[in-house]
Assembly symmetry: C2
Homo-oligomer: 451 residues x 2
């Protein structure tokens, strides 16, 4: 009797929350007090070597339980799948999840349910790359172009990009891929850093961190804007004075403005030459972004971290709304949908500069940019991956930044696995950190009542 083929036997889910709001790390004009969180999913298998697949949705605190519930709702589509089939065609899982007609109603292809699909699909890719013994970027960069095209759902895209055009882009992308992979391994992929620019930081801290960033090799930093106009000016002036004229400084309004306000507020910062204005208004406002872009040039317009699927990215490109496409690894439906977005951006000639930070977003998205460089766009010109130096030590294979560049991962997988100790400590509400926190707060309340 041949041995039973290995299967996915369980989908473990974990509500992980980090108390980042206490340091104002991650504070911006829209999100004053995020507790960076992950709805973390582990695909457990009965493979003899114990291979697992890891993925997560990123949230900023409340509602992370809802995100976990959404992942739980997908369990029936995953448990029982053959590992060989899943790893040979992660797109089959993606299609089944996106195609569940009853669950589709909850989006369609947006919000909590779509982020849940993204987490599970990314976990399948982590599993596939681990089994293949390759980091995901390399698996993708070495994959057959026909196979990659089959991984993409072209529904709603064909007026902008056909499978034939995608195949052509991927075939052209393979020319010189070996040299670019070597260059990537030698130098890494350029990063920019948002670490200096959180809205809750003092000018002193901002300036100090900006100078440190440049000393550390970064040629591009980003500041949060969008609260008080005078404060925006003051902070940008301080940053420009600290880093000089040759470092790119981008600004990020985190959706704070209406269209007309975005134009006025961006133009008011022109004196300090911001490189891009990010999320000037609603991420749903394709026409609004186009209007802002027409008005604020030469400042570039960037958006994407909250763009919920490939259909909106398609239109942002069709309407000329953006100079820079900011994919997020955990907002859309996972690697398969991000392949669609990378192909769309390549077709329209728009650079992809991923959103990262949060919990583990740097770990994931580096793979997508590295694939894009090696085997699709073929360049790192004007391409940078966001970097924020938070929470990396909770991952088993944290990103490595050297001289302002992401180092190419060598470990098999999607760099998505969290350390078991971190999962145990920051599981909400039962983990050690939150249990102790509750006890501290209860003690505080008792003391207050006693006074």
């Amino acid at each position: 009797m041949p041995p039973t083929p290995a299967r996915v036997v369980a989908v473990g889910t974990h509500d992980i929350r980090f108390p980042t709001s206490r340091e104002l790390d991650g504070s911006d004009a829209m999100n004053p007090d995020p507790d960076y969180s992950a709805a973390y999913v582990v695909l457990r298998t009965d493979a003899p070597d114990g291979t697992e697949g890891h993925g997560f949705a990123f949230t900023i605190g409340r509602g992370n339980d809802v995100q976990v519930a959404a992942i739980d709702a997908l369990r029936g589509h995953v448990v029982g799948r053959s590992l060989d089939e899943l790893c040979a065609d992660p797109g089959s899982l993606s299609r089944d999840l996106v195609g569940d007609s009853q669950l589709r109603w909850l989006g369609p292809e947006k919000g909590v349910m779509h982020m849940a699909i993204g987490a599970v699909v990314n976990a399948a890719w982590d599993l596939a790359a681990r089994r293949a013994g390759r980091p995901l970027w390399q698996l993708l960069a070495e994959a057959d172009p026909e196979w990659l095209v089959d991984q993409v759902d072209f529904r709603y895209l064909t007026d902008a990009l056909t499978p034939g055009e995608a195949l052509e882009l991927l075939r052209r992308g393979r020319e010189g891929a070996g040299e670019r992979a070597a260059a990537l391994r030698a130098r890494g992929f350029p990063a920019y850093t948002t670490s200096p620019g959180w809205l809750g930081y003092s000018d002193e801290k901002l300036t100090r961190l900006a100078v440190e960033a440049v000393a550390g090799g970064f040629r591009h930093i980003k500041l949060k804007v969008g609260a008080d106009p005078a404060e925006d000016l003051r902070r940008l002036r301080a940053a420009r004075a600290a880093v000089g004229p040759h470092i790119r400084i981008s600004v990020d309004a985190n959706q704070r403005w209406d269209v007309d306000e975005a134009i006025v507020r961006t133009k008011a910062l022109g004196e300090f030459e911001p490189y891009w204005i990010e999320e000037p208004t609603s991420p749903d406002d394709i026409l609004g972004h186009a209007a802002v872009r027409r008005a604020v040039a030469p400042v570039k317009v960037a958006t994407g971290e909250h763009v919920h699927n490939r259909v909106v990215f398609k239109q942002l490109l069709q309407a000329g709304s953006i100079d820079i496409a900011q994919i997020d690894a955990a907002r859309v439906g996972g690697v398969n949908e991000n392949l669609a977005v990378l192909l769309l951006a390549a077709k329209f000639g728009v650079p992809v500069c991923p959103h990262a930070g949060g919990v583990g977003l740097c770990e994931l998205v580096q793979h997508l940019s590295m694939f894009d460089f090696v085997a699709l766009s073929g360049t790192t010109d004007d391409r940078v991956i966001e970097y924020v130096d938070h929470l990396h030590d909770h991952f088993t294979e944290p990103v490595v930044i050297r001289d302002g560049h992401y180092t190419a991962p060598t470990a098999p997988g999607f760099s998505a696995a969290m350390r078991p100790e971190s999962v145990a400590e920051f599981t909400y509400p039962g983990g050690a950190f939150w249990t102790a926190d509750l006890a501290r707060r209860n003690a505080g309340n008792r003391k207050e009542r006693a006074v």
Copy 2:
């Protein structure tokens, strides 16, 4: 001591599912087997008269538990609110829910979390209308225009509609409102019916139901299309033959097509003069809808039941993507956001023809159209509310259709309360129906194993 003011003391949530997939009621090209469901919410109060507020999100089966979890996540914003304050300004609740910065990350303003907000906000309006002793349409139609403008969140809208313009529209809408309210009470609001046209129905059933609909006073019916092209033609031909040339027949593709395909497929139906093509492609595709509309005239383009917020409606209107705006009572963030959409449609002169059917959507949305007629657009020309004759008997105040018109509700509230017996029977999985169903299926499995 003055009496303690009444407050919301609990938010009850219920996962209610009806086994509609067994009759192919509600089957369309995208949703072959929906189990119409409601994530039902009851705001309980300590008011001496026991007043409650009722609302729900509509789903089609799997994932209704995720929708309930999302409503549960809002509880902290609701419990403890003063009834007087909540009913005097439901917009304050709407603003607090939409403005929760951590929960906002899960959308923003889209998908599961936004539908949860819609359910809770609608429950608050139900409560407000019950306390005011008026059906919601009347409460809105008699409200002070300034107060209505304050109920609207204009964020991201001001490039298309300012508060000042909205006020002007509402003031103009009040002229002659008394006469229109009387006309509404006398004649009702025109309906169209989708009951004949589900994709799973035979031609015989389709024809019979279409003839019955016309005999019952409907002047407008709708068929589902989007599966096999020859079948679309055959069904539309049969329906046109059955009802003659003077009855409007619209067709609904439920998002099945890419843009180019939508154009070809719609034009292919032209011979039978469909009135509108509904959801020809992705609800997110503003530019795609505009391309379809340019190509298929004189067939009109209608969409909206899956349009997730006011920002997308704004753009559909700005881009000339639609001839008809199909609001849904339970997709966006509740009455407040639908007021924004009604005002946008009025500004752009586009008729609003609400999506309904499902569970209780007819009950809710009639109030919005009746307000629109009495105190905003001022006309029922080319305005119709969808009607489907399913599941109304589960509501305490079901819609009343007479001669193809929705009768104006007279009972206080938003017609959103379900019968307690229905809640008990169809609660999933513990209600009487589902418990018995599980027992039946287990017995069937045992029998199969025994064979």
